[in-house]
């Protein structure tokens, strides 16, 4: 036992190799399911809010500085604050509060890339479309939106990776997800829980890197070859 206690890596391997730790109620598979459900909910909610607003602002060509201000303000808000404050408001306890608390932080990158994507459309392309008799709405739907897709994909990747990472913090408000494994390990204390803490950290890190890698491939596939140098999401300047 003392041998095991002195080596958290070995303890973590042992913990990960116990099939019951995967399949038990509240085991790894349950927590992974919660983690993915919370992440998907938060990203979907953020997209639903940010993309229409971002595309519309980009179409109008105004509001860029407001987006920068919003990004800077949300950067200063601790995730812990939204996670603890939202359940005590009208939203109430439960999954919707956790999803909303995390979606707040996914909005700025999605908003900024949607805006930039539309603004980056070549003015000559826009003029040609207007010259062909397209109305404002048609211009946005048929010209600006398709050309902004690579930017939307870049923003989606940034936001998703960030959300998958921050969902880990839902453990602080008993929100579920893979962070719960780490939290439970800390609850056991370092001597007995060290291996579980390490194993939980490993699971979260692997998930984050998988999402990042998978979305990087998806982003590449969604980006026409000629536009592939546009690169990752950046805020409008």
């Amino acid at each position: 036992m003392s041998q095991l206690m002195s080596n958290p890596v070995q303890q973590a391997v042992t913990w990960l190799n116990d099939p019951l730790n995967w399949t038990n109620p509240g085991g790894i598979l349950d927590r992974l399911g919660e983690h993915i459900a919370l992440s998907a909910g938060a990203v979907a909610l953020a997209c639903l809010v940010a993309w229409p607003v971002g595309l519309w602002l980009g179409h109008r060509g105004s509001g860029g500085s407001a987006i920068v201000v919003l990004s800077n303000v949300t950067l200063a808000i601790p995730v812990l604050a939204t996670l603890t404050i939202l359940p005590l408001t009208a939203v109430g306890f439960g999954r919707p509060a956790v999803i909303m608390a995390l979606a707040i932080f996914a909005v700025p990158p999605l908003l900024a890339t949607a805006y930039t994507g539309v603004r980056e459309v070549d003015p000559q392309t826009r003029e040609a479309a207007v010259g062909m008799g397209l109305s404002g709405g048609q211009l946005l739907r048929r010209v600006e939106l398709p050309l902004a897709v690579p930017y939307l994909a870049a923003g989606f990747r940034t936001a998703s990776v960030q959300v998958v990472a921050t969902v880990t913090l839902a453990v602080f408000v008993n929100g579920g997800g893979l962070g719960t494994i780490i939290g439970a390990g800390f609850g056991l204390g370092m001597a007995t829980g060290g291996g579980q803490i390490l194993a939980g950290g490993l699971l979260v890190a692997v998930l984050a890197l998988l999402v990042e890698g998978g979305l990087a491939v998806a982003q590449r596939l969604l980006t026409p070859r000629a536009m592939r140098r546009a690169g990752r999401a950046t805020a409008p300047t």
């Binding site: 812990l80 404050i85 939290g183």
Partner: protein, 228 residues
Amino acid sequence: MPSLRAAQPGNPWFSRRYLENNPDQILAALTEHVTLTGQSVLIATALGIPLAVMAYWFRPLTGPILAAAGVLYTIPALAVFAFIAPYLGVGAGTVVVPLVLYALLVIIRNTLTGLLQVPAEVRDAARGMGYGRLAQLLRIDLPLAVPGILTGLRLATVATVAMTTIGVVVGHGGLGELILGGFRSNFFRAEILTGALLCVALALVLDLLLLAGGWLLTPWARRRAAAA
């Protein structure tokens, strides 16, 4: 948040009595927060600027340095805590390591952007005047990269202030202790909101201080702005 005002009378979001009864606790949390943030940003700056200079001097290193920092940035903060806590224990040092790792990428990327924006003519002129590599770095490149470095420092500081709260997992979360402490002691709203607002205020104050510092460090940009 409309319900902020509609809180039940027994558990208001703002409570003067809470502030009056717990000044020591609040001040201790704030002090710990400032200390942890300050240490993390200073260490990240001390590591990040030399790494950015290395990437600037030896271009083949740019890709690997940025990629490594990017991978570290992708790994969730709580996972980093999980990796080091079994070895470093549950002290304040365990909080500083992940904070440094996150601030590092922001500082490296922005410092490098700043350095790469130094005009080629300026670099040529410096070389023509006989500046060595180090002298050129210290007297030409770095001063001209101050705006980029400062952007990185400001972003890193603001993000670190918010992220320090996660230190609650090992009992050293600064103002995060108030936020989570309030949540855990029967959803004590005044304590939660005090912690959250102080956190945002601290980020704002530090951001303005850095902005003022940059203004003092770049008199040429000031003159240019005044002339324009």
